[in-house]
């Protein structure tokens, strides 16, 4: 019993230590943020690497999630004879929840792992040490542009995901099941408010900060071995997914 208790306390202390290190890392990034913004080119390159390179997976998943929403929504709404609300139901669920959450999970799996693996390999092949020896701060030169690239890309990816998903839902609801196209779009336009869009974008931004921070932290601090880099990428996905869902609950509670 005492052993279990001791292990629990030890695990909790380890958790606190990791959180502390992550916060210190985030503060360091915040401190060098103005310097990083003076050189926009590497940031733009990273928006391309994390954002544009994730477009295919984001759009494909968005299309199918929209189509599933169209199917499920149509099935449910026809039970109440209100299938004309399909557009509204789909839009609100996508804007408030599914859009930012699913995009963040996909981002963690595609761009987050790529960031963590890239930084981990840079550490393992002494590229980060080489920068330090060349008197170049790797946090400013390597980590900050990648972090900012992820933060900027996420709300853009969320927007694209939602637009494609709405098209997918329209494809199933209007084109396959024959829901009136005018009702689909007009009901959506009248019911969706600016606050719904704001909620989606704020969540996208917050998830972008969280997922990018976790990815660069795990990659930068990876143990410089093949196994260490593998662990860093796995941790990136797992921690990002859990943190995204926890933050989603907190943000939803705050913005309702």
């Amino acid at each position: 019993m005492i052993t279990i208790l001791r292990e629990l306390v030890q695990s909790f202390l380890t958790f606190l230590e990791r959180v502390g290190l992550l916060v210190r890392f985030a503060l360091r990034l915040a401190a060098i943020l103005p310097l990083g913004l003076l050189r926009p080119r590497p940031i733009i390159e990273q928006v391309y690497n994390t954002g544009a390179m994730s477009l295919v997976i984001i759009m494909t998943c968005g299309l199918f999630i929209g189509m599933v929403l169209g199917l499920q929504g149509y099935d449910l709404l026809t039970r109440f004879g209100s299938e004309e609300y399909l557009g509204t139901a789909t839009a609100i669920s996508l804007l408030r929840e599914l859009g930012p959450v699913v995009t963040a999970l996909l981002f963690a799996g595609r761009a987050g792992t790529a960031l963590a693996a890239e930084l981990g390999l840079m550490r393992a092949t002494d590229q980060i040490a080489a920068m330090e020896i060349m008197a170049v701060d790797p946090m400013r030169r390597v980590v900050l542009p990648r972090f900012l690239g992820g933060v900027i890309a996420m709300p853009l990816l969320v927007s694209i995901f939602i637009v494609v998903a709405l098209f997918g839902a329209q494809l199933v609801g209007v084109e396959f099941f024959g829901v009136d196209s005018g009702s689909y779009w007009s009901q959506m336009r009248s019911a969706v408010e600016l606050s719904d869009i704001r909620e989606g974008l704020v969540k996208g931004l917050v998830f972008g900060v969280a997922c990018s921070l976790i990815a660069v932290y795990e990659g930068y601090n990876a143990v410089p071995t093949a196994e260490g880099v593998g662990r860093a990428t796995t941790r990136t996905v797992v921690i990002s997914a859990v943190v995204t869902l926890i933050l989603d609950y907190i943000l939803t509670a705050l913005m309702l």
């Binding site: 840079m122 092949t125 002494d126 590229q127 040490a129 080489a130 330090e132 020896i133 060349m134 008197a135 170049v136 701060d137 030169r141």
Partner: protein, 285 residues
């Protein structure tokens, strides 16, 4: 009256000193508790090629990390060009490192940049030179290592020896005062090894810099080193010219210089009795 003070004064005074790096009574242990150095004393001469040698795992690379300020000694003093490395803040450490160049064992080239950009990297980070001048400097340095024609290649397209030479061009692009080489001959074929060997000596003489070479290739380094140190069990066990090391009475120096499999540094890692273990049926999980 001398108005200079602080690091500038220290550096000016150090410029007169025959030693560029001095390690006094350095003690260092890694996180796992293993002692790497226990009272290490080394004085590295200015403007010469100094070899740091020793069996694997004796802390040769750690010594370089101490000199470059990547790690701090637990006890003792590391003074580089008159500056106590442990007392420098990040800004001053970076200022000191700008006067150093380092060749990593694996080259450590930035894989997302081509050869030209790798060599230009320190210039772009630390200077505001016009593009035309950067191009001239980079091509000059690449020419010095014989790879001007490889400027457009990426690190993945280079052989081990070529990568090492590109890293050397990058290390000298800021015209450093100290050039540090970490195992520069590891994994190189005889031709590449000869090329790198000649480059170390010729760059040292042509640029008037100080070269510190960490290696365990005794035969190769003896051709170019002005002085050598052999480290073992956390201390310097021998120092002097390569010829002096060859005649050194210490059995460990004799074993190392002559490349003997057994001696004070045992061939076998400490283990239980061989026969007992074979007959005892102990199964490793």
């Amino acid at each position: 009256m001398n108005n200079q003070s602080g690091p500038a004064a220290a550096s000016a005074a150090a410029a007169q000193s025959p030693s560029i790096a001095v390690l006094r009574d350095v003690h260092f242990a890694v996180d796992s508790g293993k002692t790497v150095f226990s009272g290490l004393d080394i004085e590295i001469g200015r403007g010469v090629v100094t070899a740091i040698m020793g069996p694997s795992g004796t802390g040769k690379t750690t010594l370089l990390k101490l000199i470059t300020g990547q790690v701090c000694a637990d006890r003792g003093q590391v003074v580089v060009d008159g500056l106590d490395v442990a007392r420098l803040n990040r800004k001053k450490i970076y200022a000191l490192r700008r006067r150093m160049g380092m060749l990593f064992q694996n080259g450590a080239l930035l894989t997302d940049l081509d050869v030209f950009e790798n060599v230009a990297f320190p210039l772009r980070e630390h200077t505001r030179l016009p593009e035309r001048l950067i191009r001239t400097i980079v091509l000059t340095k690449l020419h010095a290592v014989g790879l001007r024609g490889a400027a457009d290649l990426y690190p993945q397209q280079l052989s081990g020896g070529m990568g090492r030479r590109v890293a050397l061009a990058r290390a000298i692009v800021m015209d450093p005062e100290i050039l540090i080489y970490d195992e520069p001959f590891a994994g190189l074929d005889p031709i590449s090894m000869g090329v790198v060997l000649r480059l170390i000596r010729s760059l040292n003489d042509a640029l008037g810099i100080t070269s510190i070479v960490v290696t365990h290739d005794v035969r190769e380094i003896s051709q170019i080193a002005d002085s050598s140190f052999i480290i073992s069990e956390g201390k310097v066990v021998a120092s002097g010219t390569t010829a002096a090391l060859r005649d050194h009475p210490s059995p460990i120096v004799h074993q190392f210089v002559d490349g003997l499999a057994d001696g004070p540094v045992p061939f076998h890692y400490p283990a239980a009795d061989y026969h007992e273990q074979l007959l005892g049926g102990q199964v490793f999980a």
